[in-house]
């Protein structure tokens, strides 16, 4: 930094390494457990070296699930999670782009009312209004459906807020020029605004995909059929049989699978992820 203090630099590296180890340790143990047999994991203490059943365990959970607790195949759960995460992220981004465009680029009666109706949703996470929302979704017959899993989570203004902020910084001259050239509003939206928003869209996609993939409370309520469990719920049902009966090697293989897609998205799209996070929260 400013002055050279080799001891302090060493200390910094040491603390960071401890931090990295603390973050990685549970995942390492999870990985190791997912490569062993149930009996090997039950040994106290279990070996901290990878076993030889990696392919076997992962094949079993993907196609057949565990023998105790829930036996739903994890492959199906991953598919449900993927669809849910994609519908939530793409749905939220689409409706938010449209409504932010309407609020920023049009003057119409009730504009401020619409604006506030959307933004008040920023205040209340779905956790707060679970039972009435559940009753509404049940009343509409949407339990155990992708619509029921996703629509209530799409009703939030974070993305609209972000796009509104972004559209406000787009120079007026662009809209002026489009108008003089006789371009329709939708044409301006498609040909100018959307391409300009590419970075924001990518950033938001990462955040919303993780948000959707990691949902827990809501899917716990609206899914009662095994074939509609997202993987995050499915894993909880696998350990429901009690501590002794739990096949930890299979649970841990499932945990690895459930962690992989969102972690990969964060690591691969780190730049957009950080931008999206900082923009969305501030």
């Amino acid at each position: 930094m400013i002055e050279r203090r080799p001891m302090l630099d060493l200390l910094a590296h040491l603390i960071l390494l401890i931090g990295v180890l603390l973050v990685a340790f549970p995942v390492y143990v999870t990985f190791v457990a997912s490569t062993q047999t149930a009996a090997e994991v039950q040994q106290a203490p279990m070996s901290l070296l990878p076993g030889s059943h990696l392919i076997e365990n992962y094949t079993q959970v993907i196609t057949g699930g565990s023998n105790t607790g829930s036996s739903a195949p994890v492959g199906r759960m991953m598919w449900v999670s993927l669809i849910t995460a994609l519908v939530i992220s793409i749905g939220k981004i689409s409706i938010s782009l449209l409504s932010a465009f309407a609020v920023v680029y049009f003057r119409f009666p009730g504009r401020m009312l619409c604006f506030w109706m959307i933004f008040v949703t920023l205040m209340l996470p779905v956790e707060v209004r679970i039972s009435p929302t559940y009753q509404v979704v049940a009343g509409l017959g949407l339990l155990n459906s992708y619509a029921g899993l996703t629509l209530p989570l799409i009703a939030s203004a974070t993305a609209t807020f972000l796009f509104r902020q972004f559209f406000m910084t787009v120079p007026d001259e662009l809209a002026e020029a489009a108008r003089i050239d006789g371009a329709s509003p939708m044409r301006f939206f498609r040909d100018i605004l959307l391409p300009l928003s590419r970075t924001s869209i990518a950033a938001l996609f990462v955040i919303q995909f993780i948000y959707g993939w990691n949902q827990y409370l809501w899917p716990l309520l609206v899914t009662t059929q095994e074939d509609m469990y997202p993987v995050v719920i499915g894993i909880r049902r696998m350990i429901a049989g009690g501590d002794a009966a739990t096949e930890w090697n299979l649970v841990m293989a499932t945990a690895m699978l459930a962690m992989l897609p969102p972690a990969a998205v964060v690591v691969l799209m780190q730049r957009w992820f950080v931008k999206g996070l900082v923009d969305a929260e501030k």
Partner: protein, 300 residues
């Protein structure tokens, strides 16, 4: 930035009366059906008392609320939630700040450390709970076994304090990456010239941190404090449900968990709705604090 953007108004707008409503329709419909309708229902239900069979209900005004605040379990859950959010927010912030300051110091490997430290953000809280549950499982967990080796009888299924500790550790582990990112961004926006001037005046690293860095970080810290409290209130539901199910003996049943427990397990919708309304008030206060802070921050 032009003046119109600052004022929140565009000078150039399109004409059209039907189109803007069409554009807004998808979001408004979803918001009304899945937000306003349930929120109104929560308010309504919080004033209703259902009979034992769940067939009829009568208007009881604020009785659900007065009952709520005279129930020892609910008050215990309130205290528990306060202790839990304090523990999660404070330790999460302290650890993240330490790591961010260190990462900001080492220039060479900073990106590598950043990548290695941020990915727990992507891990679902419920999955994080499963990971730590496994490490602390009384029967097979290697940390539980190690603790027994040094004389600590770890069993979070029976010991409420240990269960509490387990959910705090899991929640902090999950949240540190998020705090770390914001602290690092805050640290990197502090002008180097300021620190260099202080160094020339003879201020050592600790003194510079205390008198310059930390005060300049205070807006970030305050923002993170609010976000972390909201996180501890709501997002930890999955951690608690997957790790302890609120047990043993309700010793990890924080407010949001009680809403679920009383509403979906106990089928006491009146009390559950009243609890939801109390939670709504708390989030609203926190959110308003957050926005006021953002407004103030703009002037920095």
């Amino acid at each position: 930035m032009n003046t119109s953007a600052v004022a929140g108004q565009k000078r150039v707008v399109f004409s059209g009366l039907v189109l803007p409503y069409l554009l807004l329709a998808p979001q408004l419909i979803i918001t009304v059906v899945f937000f306003f309708w349930p929120a109104a229902q929560a308010l309504w239900q919080s004033t209703q008392m259902q009979d034992a069979f769940g067939i009829g209900s009568e208007f009881v005004g604020l009785e659900n609320f007065t009952t709520l605040f005279s129930t020892p379990e609910y008050l215990a859950s309130f205290r528990l939630t306060a202790a839990f959010s304090t523990a999660v927010a404070v330790s999460g912030l302290v650890i993240a700040l330490l790591l961010a300051v260190m990462a900001n110091r080492v220039i060479r490997a900073a990106t590598a450390y950043k990548t290695l430290l941020i990915w727990p953000y992507a891990v679902a809280p419920a999955i994080a709970a499963v990971l730590w549950l496994f490490l602390f499982s009384p029967a097979v967990g290697i940390l539980a076994l190690a603790l027994r080796h040094v004389g600590v009888d770890w069993n979070h299924l029976l010991n409420g304090d240990q269960a509490f500790l387990l959910v705090v550790i899991t929640s902090v582990w999950k949240q540190v990456s998020y705090n770390f990112l914001f602290f690092l961004a805050g640290l990197q926006s502090i002008p180097r010239s300021l620190l260099e001037a202080a160094a020339i005046d003879g201020a050592g690293p600790w003194r510079r941190f205390r008198t310059i860095v930390f005060p300049l970080l205070s807006p970030t810290t305050f923002f993170l404090l609010v976000v972390n409290v909201i996180y501890a209130f709501f997002d930890t539901f999955a951690v608690i449900d997957a790790a302890t199910q609120g047990g043993p003996g309700g010793q990890t049943a924080v407010l949001v968990y009680k809403v679920y427990q009383d509403g979906f397990k106990g089928l006491d919708f009146g009390s559950s709705a009243a609890q939801s309304v109390v939670l709504m008030l708390i989030v609203t206060v926190l959110t308003v604090m957050q926005f006021r802070f953002i407004d103030r921050r703009v002037q920095y």
